[in-house]
Symmetry: C2
Subunit: 267 residues, 2 copies
């Protein structure tokens, strides 16, 4: 199943969309956080009548199991450049799974003032070619099923599933959708939360790292091809950690930045 | 006027608070973004019945002029650890100024699982003592009035107001409230948006850098004393830039991380 089909949002009227959580995008029975955010963003984009989530923040309130779900979206403000939308993704019993706030725009419109001013003090991660990286294949347990829905290749130095944790809170790799499905700006939200946690590479004694909140800035529509992704963590403290992501497209352009705040319950 | 008084939220019932935008916290007549977020957070904290905004995201929809304003807050979910609140700060004509989503908790409760796991791969910025830094004094124009409400000392190498732009998108300095007012976790939101923009030090040809969205993670309550703050930008591209902030307390502990997405209209 394609990502765009798996995140389809069918209008129900009155600011509501039917957004079923599809099978197979999960980790131990609970849908991947980036997939859930994509599902919410698809409905919010329809509400906004703009295609691209320029900045979007999601609070994770409850695991999302496969089954019926819906998004209720309110357009807070529509401006010339942005439409700002608040939304709730809820399960069939109306219990909130995700609360989301996002600004949608049209990143294909190059008329933004200052769009020609460029200064980039970073470079894409240096990765061996995809075929020389470690492809993560989904299983029924671990690696999780969602890995079978995407094509994810880890840098051999960061491939904790095969070579063991590196000791560093760093995960780098390639990402694409299956069967050359184009990566739109909503699929970038999946890329921002699809990689194994940095905490696992850092050998932290944690069982898992549930996301409290994730914010992504989508800076451009990616050109066709692989994405280069890099995730790092600097601050593991007070029962929380942040995970910062940077996503580059095949032309070497920054397309997304992400940051999530996660808990670190002990293993 | 103290920050806590200037961000007081008086309950109006039915999930509404009166939150007047006070005079003097402005930049050219529009209230500082961190101050506005503090105002919203004060009411949201009351709605959440928890003191600390652990992760909070604000979308800036319209400038906030001094005068009557109100916050309407909905508690989306109350859990054992977090209460998640969605809120709108609106002016006297009910036009939204800020749309905010935040999770509130009690950071004084040290029982969080994994709170003893520490790994910090960063150090506070190396700053000369406050008296050897450059104090920014507010004026009626520039530096803006809000600078008279706080005590902000820039690293001499980053003190664009006195020595001119450094050429680097970096701003470091000390922050405290006036008259030894304690800095609570809501005042950290002010610290996260009180410094001059990195874009000015980088000599970008921009008139100003209006915030689209700001997310702050509050990781701990600061001990009394000065805060050490550092703001950086890596990606100026496509008409947007991010500004990342890291805030440390006087004990050398990380207390906040922030990231904002801003526009860069030409000067």
């Amino acid at each position: 199943m394609r990502f765009d089909e798996a995140t389809a949002a069918a209008p129900l009227g009155h600011g509501r969309w039917s957004t079923p959580v599809h099978d197979g995008w999960d980790i131990g029975g609970n849908a991947n956080g980036g997939y859930l955010l994509g599902l919410a963003a698809r409905a919010m984009s329809a509400a906004a009548e703009r295609p691209d989530p320029v900045t979007i923040s999601a609070h994770y309130l409850r695991p999302g199991a496969p089954g019926p779900a819906s998004v209720t979206a309110s357009v807070i403000k529509t401006g010339r450049r942005f439409a700002t939308v608040s939304a709730t993704l809820a399960d069939s019993e109306e219990r909130p799974i995700l609360q989301v706030l996002g600004a949608f725009s049209d990143l294909g419109d190059a008329s933004l003032d200052g769009a020609d001013i460029e200064r980039v003090d970073a470079t894409p991660p240096d990765l061996p070619p995809p075929d020389d990286c470690v492809r993560i294949e989904g299983t029924d347990t671990f690696p999780p099923p969602v890995m079978s829905r995407i094509d994810l290749r880890l840098h051999p130095d960061d491939a904790l599933f095969t070579t063991g944790p590196s000791g560093h809170p760093l995960v780098r790799g390639w990402f694409r959708l299956l069967n050359d499905e184009p990566i739109d700006t909503i699929a970038l939200l999946l890329a921002a939360d699809a990689f194994p946690p940095t905490a696992f590479n850092a050998k932290l004694p944690v069982a898992w790292v549930p996301t409290v909140e994730l914010t992504a800035h989508i800076r451009a529509r990616p050109v066709p091809g692989w994405l280069r992704c890099e995730f790092t963590t600097r601050f593991v403290t007070g029962g929380f950690l942040e995970e910062d992501g940077v996503v580059w497209d095949d032309s070497g352009r920054l397309v997304a930045q992400s940051r999530q705040l996660a808990l670190l319950p002990r293993g």
